[in-house]
Amino acid sequence: MPEKPPREVKYLATLPVNILLNAVLIIPFAIMIYLAFLKWSPAMGMPWWEAPIIGLTNFARALGDARFIAALGRTALYTVGVVAIEFFLGLALAYTMLGDFIGKKAAIAITIYPLMLPPVVVATIFYLMFQSYGPVNNLFLRAIMGEEALRIYWFLKPDTAFITLLIADIWQWTPFMFLIMYSALSAVPKRLVEAAEVLGARSFTIFWRVRMPLIKPLIVVALVLRGLEAFKMFDYAFIMTGGGPGITTETVSMYIYRTAILYTDISYAAAMSLMILAMIIVIVRAFIWYFFEKGR
């Protein structure tokens, strides 16, 4: 039986990783928390460590900031919308592709291809597609509505501009849901499905009573991961609408970016970021509790 290495060796062995973690993660995060309690902008001409501490003022300001609250509400709506649609589409696609058919591999490859594109590229493509002379109006809608379709300006009205963002997101990220759902559904033991079939269960019953309970943990993981990602949406709004018209499609990430980078209001941006972080932690925790821990 080899001797356990002394405790000092363990500490020394993990020291490089500790230093790295502290340098790139913990220290900057601690500084961000500290900044949220200051009144500081680089344009104030003083180093941040000399800036006055103003307690919870930045947090209170955020709660009274109509633009922040509106961006938050809009982002929440966006997140719920895209995640729900992507989930159902992804699940439906995955279920459709469960059986064997000719060209299945190619179909899967094509389905997941949007995932490989950088969001900024997708945003640019959709920006061009939704121009009044773009293919959405010129090819699809013109066939239905005639010349009137060319007078639709998607980015001119808040609602239609918001819809374009949803469509871009759904197009790119449904494959993510599909990929997880397909893996999950494929992993359901065939014998359970066959047993249900022998007992006379219909397809829907098998899906609802056999497959779904088994893939529930993966559904929750997919929803949480996708939800977190969607909540951070920046690229589509930045490229396609610029947050406009006005600020009607500005997401919370975009507002924080503008506050921190364009307005150099670093402390306020830090406070808003922390509030978002706290909210996300609470929501995700509640989600996990509801699906995994409740009634255990």
Binding site: A43, L156, P158, G242, G244, G246, I261, L262, T264, D265
Partner: protein, 540 residues
Amino acid sequence: MGEVNKSRRLFLTALGTTVVGIGIGYAIGYLSKPAEMVEKTITSTVTKTVTATPGVTPPPVGLSGAATRALEGVRDLLNRGVITPGTTIKILHVAGSRAQLEKAIELWRQYVPEVNVELITLGQEPDVYTKAMAEAVTKAGTFDIATIFSTWFGDIVEAGLAKPLDEYYAKYDPEYTGPCAPIEPLGSYVTIYKGKRHSLVLDSDVFTLSYRKDLIEDPAYKSEFRAQYGKDLNVPDTWEDLIDMAEFFYNKSLTAPSGGRVYGAYFYAEPAFAAYITWLNIFIEAGGIPFDLETMDPKVDSPEGRYAFDIMLRLRPYMPPEAITAGWADLYDKFIKGETVFTAAWPSLTKEAMRPTSLVKDVAGSALLPGVIVNGKLVRAAPNPVNWIGIVSNYSKYPELSYLFLQFATAPDTGLEVILAGVILDLFRECWFKDPAYRPKSAEGYGEEFIDVYMESLKISFPDILIRGGTEYLSKLTTEVNSVMAGIKDPEVALSDVSAEWDSITRKYGVDEQLEAWRGLAQLFPDDIKDVWRAKGYMR
């Protein structure tokens, strides 16, 4: 054993041949050099061996005073050992200006090969701001010079990044007075902050009116317009005239050379950054003043503010909807396709319109922007959004050398060559427009008609809000202007919101501090505008 000997012999033969070959090649190369180069090599070798004093190639006859003084300054720094050969200075800049800065470096190397200049190129304009502000915090000396938007001037000076340059201005005279000085008031408002010089002008970004000459000068349209509106169809003097003309051409439903529709006008109203430009232009011409000179209270929620919105909203029906939704470059695209009769933009629009691929190559006209009649007098002004300027970092190890590079790169002779090497930086010195030694070159780059119009526009140009928080003030104005133009906000509400937002920005930085900067900047507005402010009691 025989094989080994053979290999050794072969190796020695090859080595000997190589050494002799290099020797002969070197000798031939040396002997075939021009005599002056041989002499230079000897001088350089002797200089390096005997003394630490390196040489700076003397400037050729004809190089302007400011460039010569910059080179003499560098020579002096080298002689005094303040810098040594091999010293490198770094410039932080945006990718769009790379060609022009590379030209400046190429010229510099002809005279100062001992001092290297490196470029730190960033892709997007806001990246420059972010990096510059980060440097203000870290003080790491990452770069020596930064080329920045004048809109960031207040932030960057107040953050302590921009070194005050009065001492160097006095010592080296960058020619900011006299016949070749930068045109005023631009030369002052983009370099002076709170009474001190903190930058050198690299550029001018003043807006002019661009229009379809073929339509405006068409005799049939002229008579039709006269019959319909009771006035002549000419380049419009006022915004009211422009609205009539835009309406007239819009109602004609003309087809552009591109095959698209011809719109009456296209002025910036887009949400990302440019919508403020149009509104602020009309507001200033109408005699509006952004802030009270006594209290720093915002004065945008005023009759002038409402008038600016009124003009913009009356123009809106004749503008393409993309004016409200697309990025700033869409305006360029539509004009060079011939799809707008009137538009306003930076000088680069004229350069684009002159390109062989432009569909308005031979029919694009330039004029002063329309004005507003105030107290019976036509008041014109021209915005100068996001003018590029050069600052020397307070954390540079070589501030004087960095200043000298900027002076060299913006001097009359060298500066014009730099400007003509690309599209981002534009003309700003008076002699480039007037002096026969420079004018032909300028005209080649911009066209004869444009440079006359542009010079007059520079004289009536007014600055962005170049005080601390400038970007934030203007960004919030842009949001509100775009909201009004998109029809999602009432102008009255928007003006009230801008006012509240601006007040909050002012309070964030301190009313007294902001007031001091604003008072200094207000004095640098064009005289015509200050006269109106005085007449209205806004300025004493």
